[in-house]
Amino acid sequence: MNTILNMKDIVKTYRMGDEEQRVLNEINFNVEQGEFVTILGPSGSGKSTLMNIIGCLDVPTSGNYDLNGNDVAHMDEETLSEVRNREIGFIFQQFQLLPRLSALDNVELPLIYAGVSEKERKQRAKAMLEKVGLGTKLKNKPNQLSGGQQQRVAIARALITQPTILLADEPTGALDQKTGVQIMELFQELHAEGKTIVMITHDEKIARHGSRIVKILDGTLTEYRQEDEQHG
């Protein structure tokens, strides 16, 4: 197996006035290529902070983080931008589509920052929207799409740069039960294709769609064991 994400002794502390608050406590976390890992934790457990560090939006206070050969823990903002663009495909709870842009233009966005020519961008974005089942909605603005469709546009946008990791933060949190299941089915299809997915959720039912679950509580990460499931 090829380890593409390797976190070692990751610590993140925030200063709250005079107090120092340790949000992540010596996290050790690996993701192999092709895995679908879910990080399960209640709010306030530190899972958002962990996601920010995985997503290269933030850097740890100490520890090492290697993402596909990039020493992320010690990068400046400029280089982090490049790594995010190349290695991470973000999927957010609130979709985060730009309301003024069409579905096609939204999907194109990461390619603009990758410096891809307009012609190629259009072709790839169109193909990706067809793949997520929105081939007929290319020109629609986000407010002309249902919640599930918007999340599909967001997934297409996350996939467009062929990133190392798809990083999803509560991807079904803003959707109804039925639509949420459909999105999870799409995740499983992507997983079956060999995509590496890291999903963060507080919902155990959703978490079970993953091939492996880790739990985070009070800044400490533990592997999810069978008895947890029984007691939970």
């Binding site: 939006l57 931008s81 995010r84 190349r86 957010f92 985060q96 003024r100 990461p110 603009i112 891809v116």
Partner: protein, 393 residues
């Protein structure tokens, strides 16, 4: 980088278009500032050109000397004039002697006619003097010939139906032969030549009964050397009046011209300065809108950063947006300014001139304003933390 720049331009433009009303109100400040600058520069330039034109008509190559005299010597003598005539770079010296008297033709009397004594040089240096007949010659001056030229009012009054040439009129009791008539004056002159007769200045001196010449027009050969020539004339006059500086006054047209240009120049700078204040106010308006825009689009900025936009790219996008707003205001202001100065100059009655440098000045100014006042909001946008920005939903 080319792709990025093109996309930044496109994104900025879309954002401006999306908020049409707000964008328009924002650029209004710059628009008014540029309009004011263009209109003021053009109108002041038009007025300046007009004044300069009038002064130039009086002759920039002419040095006018007015003699106040001293108690012992009320004017220049023929010897003094001969002395001055020796100065280098002179085309000629034209003494002027003036008085007022009545003239008679055929028993008809005309009162209060200006009698002006001049010479051949006076006529040689102005082709706008002689209407018909011949000018005064050097022979007329030297032999004190009793000849004269008459103005158009005199022609109208005394010779309504016949040619005045070679007719004899009585000036101050002395008979003179009319050798020519003067052109109708253009109106822009202190003394109207229409109601006057011109005689050789030597003749005029005898008529008035004076041995002194009270005024000189000195014509310069090379205008570039006028200051040096003026200095020499001054030194000759000082000698003539026993070093009494109050004895005479030298009026150089170039000096008047310089003063006029300096005055209007100062005026344009002052007005442009006031207009520049409104440009700065316009810039603050742009900065205000940009700050609002950055706050409004916090989430968008965070998302773009998450998707791989570098701080520099975000900054470029917002700076371009401010630049476009400002330039757009500048271009509209330029059009309004040209229109207003066209109407304005027509209203004042001076010629409309579009000052060449005003276009790059206006556009350059608005570009600088856009960049200067767009920089801080753009910097703020580029520094937004993507995490905080995304969380602000």
């Amino acid at each position: 980088m080319d792709t990025m720049f093109k996309e930044s331009v496109k994104m900025s433009w879309q954002n401006i278009i999306h908020n049409k009303m707000r964008s328009f109100l924002t650029i209004l400040g710059v628009l008014i500032g540029v309009t004011a600058i263009i209109a003021l520069i053009s109108i002041v330039q038009g007025v300046t050109d007009n004044i300069t034109g009038e002064v130039m008509k009086m002759g920039a190559n002419k040095i006018t000397v007015q003699i106040a005299g001293t108690p012992l010597k009320q004017g220049l003598t023929q010897t003094d004039i001969n002395e001055i005539a020796q100065i280098e770079n002179l085309k000629g010296v034209s003494p002027t002697v003036s008085g007022q008297t009545s003239i008679v033709y055929n028993g008809e009397v005309m009162e209060e006619v200006a009698v002006q004594g001049n010479n051949d040089v006076h006529f040689a240096n102005s082709d706008e003097l002689l209407e018909t007949g011949r000018p005064i010659t050097i022979v007329d001056v030297e032999s004190k010939n009793r000849v004269c030229l008459i103005g158009q009012d005199v022609v109208k009054e005394l010779f309504p139906a016949e040619s005045p040439i070679n007719k004899e009129i009585i000036i101050n009791g002395v008979t003179h032969t009319i050798i020519g008539t003067l052109q109708k004056s253009s109106g822009f002159s202190a003394s109207s030549p229409d109601q006057s007769v011109v005689v050789p200045y030597t003749t005029a001196m005898s008529l008035i009964g004076t041995g002194y010449v009270p005024a000189l027009d000195i014509y310069v050969e090379d205008e570039a050397l006028a200051p040096e020539t003026t200095a020499e004339v001054e030194s000759a006059l000082l000698t003539a009046f026993n070093y009494n500086e109050d004895g005479f006054r030298i009026v150089n047209m170039q000096n008047i011209l310089d003063t006029v240009e300096q005055m209007t120049g100062t005026m344009s700078m002052l007005l442009a300065g006031i207009a520049a204040i409104s440009l700065v106010v316009g810039g603050i308006g742009i900065m205000n809108m940009m700050l609002v825009t950055v706050t409004e689009r916090t989430t968008e900025i965070g998302l773009r950063k998450a998707l791989g936009a570098k701080p520099g790219t975000i900054q470029l996008q917002f700076v371009l947006e401010a630049l476009f707003l400002s330039l757009f205001g500048g271009i509209l202001g330029l059009i309004c300014g040209i229109f207003i100065s066209f109407v304005g100059t027509m209203a004042i009655g001076v010629e409309f001139t579009l000052v060449g440098y005003s276009i790059p000045l206006a556009l350059g100014f608005s570009a600088v304003i856009g960049l200067a006042f767009g920089y801080a909001p753009a910097k703020k946008a580029s520094r937004l933390n993507p995490i905080d920005a995304l969380r602000s939903v």
